[in-house]
Amino acid sequence: MQNPSWMSLFATYFIPMFTKGIEVTVPLTLISFVLGLILAVLTALARLSGFAPLVAIARFYVWVIRGTPLLVQLFIIFYGLYQIGVTIPAFPSAVIGFTLSVGAYNSEIIRAAILSIPKGQWEAAESLGMTRWQAMRRIIIPQATRVAIPPLGNSFISLVKDTSLAAVITVTELFHEAQADAAVTYSPLVMYCEAAFIYLIFSTVLSTLQSRIEKRLDRFVA
């Protein structure tokens, strides 16, 4: 009977995997998401600026990132750039890759949210004598944030799972740990299921958090 040993394998490797999750997966996700959001806002504003060179740069960036696999981008950053003398360690490489990805996908979410605010809000702000930028900052962005938070939350939860790709560029995160443990124990089924289980814990906690935040925001929306 294999079952008792499966149980004990699961128990033995839970702590190491979970620890990698907390120590690497979570920081990788948080850092990439925060930097990515900043990039996303800048990209959205560039696209809405109406200033042709900025619009072109922003569109090009989004086009390239959305049109190529994240896995390939990570390989270019970590293995590819090495060839021209640019050596970036694994973790920062992953941060760069995920930041670029978060920036591109979420810039579209943010742009759509800004465009969803009725024209009358701009007009009310401008009729008070606000500049475009004051109207954007004081009136439009606070409302657009509320519109954008649910899809941004989804994108955040996707990122937690996508960070498992960092294993292929040698970042020792949760999934990398699972691979190592599978090799040692000759029990890939248990180890990978265990990794899946831990990802499930992370994403469930985040989903719960997300719906709480959304409920709080709902109180102010007509």
């Binding site: 009310a124 009729s127 008070l128 004598g129 606000m130 409302q143 509320r146 102010f220 007509a222």
Partner: protein
């Protein structure tokens, strides 16, 4: 002394000419009511007065600023802002800021644009809300207010900026009939206090009672203007008679 002078104002959207040479004078302290069929250009005319739309041709003077327009004329940002500060606008759809309370709505422009201190802005906002009968709803969000209350907050928000002129675009058209009276009452009071107002409305009783001048806009021109008695009782203009007759039914 005229507060607003429009001379030969044209406005074109692409190939559609909406205003075709409007001349209009609004004296300081007067209430001018603009009436006319739907699509005749009333909203566009009003929006030209605070430069939410730029006229394609003509001369526009409001308070201290005179602007000449030619197709493609660009107004410098500072002039644009200074010009708009002289006017307050009340919208058909209220356009309150939904993420702010009534009080914050009325404070916002004072703090962001006029750079008043928070305390000063709050004081003024509370006085304005009191004036429109909503001091006790200062902390309510727009969605917690009825349409009539929202529109009165809209008036308070515009008034708090101490504008020289208040512009109203059908301020009661979106309201349930029983809520119209409160809003009109506030507007009457402002008129009596000597506020200069330009009001687009279909409320003919308001026009009769409050207006110093009624302006009938038709197909992008001022077809006729005069004191309310003239427009409502003496005119022989077929289009006006037709228009007024339609409103009664």
């Amino acid at each position: 002394m005229a507060m607003i002078e429009l001379h030969n104002i044209h406005k074109q959207f692409g190939s559609l000419e909406v205003l075709k040479g409007v001349d209009l004078t609004v004296d300081a302290g007067n209430t001018v009511v603009i009436i006319g069929p739907s699509g005749s250009g009333k909203t566009t005319l009003l929006r030209c007065m605070n430069l939410l739309e730029f006229p394609t041709q003509g001369t526009l003077r409001l308070g201290d600023y005179t602007l000449e327009f030619q197709p493609g004329t660009r107004v410098k940002k500072d002039t644009l802002i200074a010009f708009r500060k002289q006017t307050g606008m009340v919208f058909q759809g209220y356009n309150l800021f939904p993420h702010m309370t009534a009080l914050q709505n009325v404070m916002e422009g004072q703090v962001t644009v006029l750079k008043r201190s928070k305390e000063e802005a709050r004081d003024k906002a509370l006085r304005m809300l009191d004036k429109v009968g909503l001091k006790d709803r200062a902390d309510a969000y727009p969605h917690q207010l009825s349409g009539g209350q929202q529109q009165r907050v809209g008036i308070a928000r515009a008034m708090a900026m101490d504008p020289k002129v208040l512009l109203f675009d059908e301020p009661t058209s979106a309201l349930d009939p029983e809520l119209v009276g409160d809003v009109l009452e506030v507007m009457k009071e402002l008129a009596n206090e000597g506020m200069t107002m330009v009001v687009v409305t279909h409320e003919m009783n308001f026009a009769r009672e409050v207006a110093d001048k009624v302006v009938f806009v038709d197909h992008g021109v001022v077809a006729e203007q005069g004191p309310p008695e003239h427009i409502f009782e003496e005119t022989t203009n077929e289009r006006i008679l037709q228009f007024l007759n339609k409103l009664r039914h």
